[in-house]
């Protein structure tokens, strides 16, 4: 039987109520509940929210609000845990390629990755290759993900992969690509490590890439 405070965390996260979740987490810590148990309830609830989104029972802003509530909660609970015990599945840097400002797909992938327990660093839209490298190096990413929505901006994906090669960093990071006009064969052609046809598939690809890297 779960402690009532953990049940409340789950309820408030399902209602996307960030302030309430933060207050619940503080209360749970005050009651002596193990921080890892708090993280587990947050993760399990976020996973359920992610699944509801994938089935279109919930919508994007719901997922985003839940993700923000979870991040705020983690900011409270993570300092209470030894770094060695922190369950991080992996770090992902996300951005749209240079020249492309269509970001809704990226936002969906980012929200689903957060829901699945990954740490996501979103570097925005229309991002030059240099910024991808800078962000990956700064946060020590495992995966770099990029998207393009137009056939005219797709070639910048190859530029990104080539840039990582030119900097001698290609083997250090796994690169995943996606977006409307992008295909699996294009991803293979440019030397990307993975491709997601949908946001849900992208999360699975990221999981597999990180597992293989480890």
């Amino acid at each position: 039987m779960l402690p009532s405070t953990l049940i409340k965390i789950r309820e408030d996260l399902n209602n996307f109520n960030q302030n309430a979740v933060m207050a619940d987490v503080e209360k749970a810590l005050g009651e002596g509940i193990c921080p890892l148990d708090i993280i587990n309830i947050l993760s399990d609830t976020m996973r359920e929210i992610g699944e509801k989104f994938a089935g279109l029972e919930l919508f994007l802003t719901d997922l985003m609000m839940a993700g923000e509530a979870m991040k705020a909660a983690l900011n409270i609970v993570l300092p209470k845990i030894d770094k060695a015990d922190i369950p991080v599945k992996g770090k992902v840097v996300l951005g749209t390629v240079k020249g492309d400002i269509h970001d809704i797909g990226k936002n969906i992938v980012g929200a689903l990755l957060t829901a699945s327990g990954f740490e996501v660093v979103d570097i925005g839209k229309d991002v030059p290759a240099t910024k991808f490298v800078e962000a990956a190096e700064t946060v020590k990413a495992d995966v770099v993900g990029t998207s393009a929505l137009m056939t005219t901006t797709m070639p910048a994906m190859k530029d990104l992969v080539d840039y990582f090669k030119a900097k001698g960093l290609r083997e250090k990071y796994r690169i995943i690509v996606g977006g409307g006009p992008v295909t699996k064969s294009y991803a293979e052609e440019i030397g990307a490590d993975g491709y997601g046809q949908s946001a849900v598939e992208a999360v699975e690809v990221v999981k597999n890439l990180i597992e293989r890297k480890q």
């Binding site: 989104f53 994938a54 279109l56 919508f59 994007l60 802003t61 719901d62 985003m64 609000m65 240079k98 020249g99 492309d100 400002i101 269509h102 809704i104 969906i108 137009m150 056939t151 005219t152 901006t153 797709m154 070639p155 910048a156 190859k158 530029d159 409307g180 006009p181 992008v182 295909t183 949908s198 946001a199």
Partner: protein
């Protein structure tokens, strides 16, 4: 004479003579583009995320208030009150939420009175084309027997200049073609196009090739309405939009609004340039089920709101839109068809502007599924008062995956079904759905142009022609009164 009568007399005079609009601006009570730019700098401050949350919350509120409900069995509703409630919901929503300017991080807002006044004064037709091809693109209404405007082709990537030319020549050769959508050129002399300077080179070449192709088809005056497809950046698009590159103000330019209801200064710059030239501004919008607007109901409302944004912010003379969902990524799912039909009816009944609907099919060219999907979409569009753009196979994601005969099919179906009532359209849509729905997540990729046509002569091969005849006969047997090839 009472003041209201004076104002109505003046308004009537202004509608009869557009050149007086600027002089009589005070009496027209519409919001000028300069005022829009002013509001982009002085409107309420908001972060993008706050705006997205406000959009979602307000949509939920108006969907509930106006009882907008998705019915998965009635994809082309005949209920005029649903369409009109959708419109009312959109006006209330848009007056509250406005349009977000990404560069200034401010909201461009309009009152309900300003919105309603702009709708009253909106142009119901726009002139495109030159010489023999000059033609008025007029707004339609649901179940109208007026022939829909046929915008033929797609901005799908073409891997060679030869293929691009052959495609455009074929589009221009279709008798029903009213305007052309030119393929995107992927490279210049082998260099992939992906920066603005390369886009300029590619666009200049694309336009020259398209004009030569239309000339060979005997229709040099046809308008191109998807300018400038090879230029992803607005700066490149503006740079090539001049008469010295054969571009004419009677062509059409698509200015995007991003999900949901967001504009950038780049796009507003393009509008400023085109308005000063007197060229045809088109508004392009791409509502997404499962995105910020939520399910099909919220997406239908936001689609109508996009049409209001087109009139109020972009001063667009024509609109082009498509609805898709985040799961299937195409326009052929039940919820996308419903959102297409209901938004189309709401706009065509209440706003009355020239609108092209562009449906993205999951299946690729030369597949039965493509024809089922495209026919279903056309029924939803035409019966709901929209005009059409021809098929976009394989979600327009694959280069060279487009066949002119399938574009011609779209036109012939669109003309054949003009005047179909919504009830009959719905029945046929459901029949077609039963033939393709289960394959939406794993559709056939289809074939490239080169596999079905002789690139040198531009003629379809016998294998493809046999397939085409067989599938069009099947569509006729389903109840679409098509003339068989």
């Amino acid at each position: 004479m009472p003041l209201e009568q004076v104002l109505n007399t003046v308004r009537q005079q202004i509608q009869n003579d557009d050149s007086s609009v600027q002089v009589w601006g005070l009496f027209v009570n519409s919001v000028s583009f300069l005022e829009v730019l002013n509001r982009s700098l002085t409107g309420p401050v908001s972060s993008e995320r706050e705006f997205d949350y406000k959009v979602a919350a307000k949509l939920r509120e108006v969907v509930k208030k106006y009882s907008i409900k998705y019915d998965s069995e009635t994809l082309v509703p005949s209920d005029d009150s649903l369409a009109d409630n959708l419109f009312k919901a959109a006006v209330e929503f848009y007056a509250d939420v406005g349009t977000y300017c990404m560069d200034t991080e401010r909201i461009i807002r309009f009152s309900e009175d300003e919105i309603k006044d702009a709708i009253r004064n909106v142009r119901h037709e726009v002139l495109f084309g030159e010489g023999n091809e000059e033609k008025a693109f007029c707004a339609r209404k649901p179940e109208s027997s007026d022939l829909p405007w046929c915008h033929v082709g797609a901005g799908i990537g073409a891997t060679s200049e030869e293929i691009l030319s052959k495609l455009v020549e074929a589009y221009a050769s279709i008798p029903e073609t009213n305007s052309v959508s030119v393929a995107t050129l992927m490279d210049v002399d082998g260099i992939p196009i992906r920066t603005p300077p390369l886009e300029v080179y590619g666009s200049v070449r694309m336009i020259a090739l398209a004009h030569e192709a239309m000339r060979r088809a005997g229709r040099p005056g046809l308008p191109i309405l998807n300018l400038v497809s090879t230029a992803a950046s607005q700066i490149a698009g503006i740079a090539v939009s001049t008469p010295q590159f054969q571009i004419r103000p009677t062509d059409g330019w698509l200015v995007p609004t991003f999900p949901d209801l967001k504009v950038y200064n780049d796009g507003l710059t393009k509008v400023a340039y085109l308005l000063n030239w007197g060229a045809n501004v088109g508004s392009e919008y791409t509502p997404l089920i499962g995105g910020y607007s939520g399910g099909p109901e919220g997406t239908a409302v936001v689609t109508v709101a996009y049409s209001l944004n087109a009139i109020m912010v972009l001063k667009a003379k024509y609109h082009l839109y498509f609805v898709s969902n985040i799961v299937d990524g195409c326009s052929s799912s039940r919820d996308a068809l419903w959102a297409t039909a209901t938004s189309g009816q709401a706009i065509s009944r209440n706003v009355q502007v020239p609108i092209i609907y562009l449906a993205y099919q999951a299946a690729g060219p030369a597949t039965e599924m493509l024809f089922y999907e495209e026919t279903a979409a056309l029924l939803a569009e035409v019966a709901s008062g929209l005009s059409i753009e021809t098929a976009h196979p394989a979600k327009a994601a694959l280069s060279d995956h487009i066949l002119p005969l399938e574009s011609q099919f779209s036109c012939k179906v669109a003309h054949a079904i003009a005047g179909t009532n919504r009830h009959d359209a719905n029945q046929l849509v459901k029949t077609l759905l039963s033939k393709y729905e289960r394959n939406l997540r794993n559709p056939p990729k289809g074939k490239r142009y080169q596999e079905c046509y002789d690139v040198r002569t531009g003629k379809p091969n016998q294998e493809y022609l046999d397939f085409y005849r067989r599938i069009t006969k099947e569509i006729v047997d389903l109840g679409v009164d098509l003339e068989l090839v």
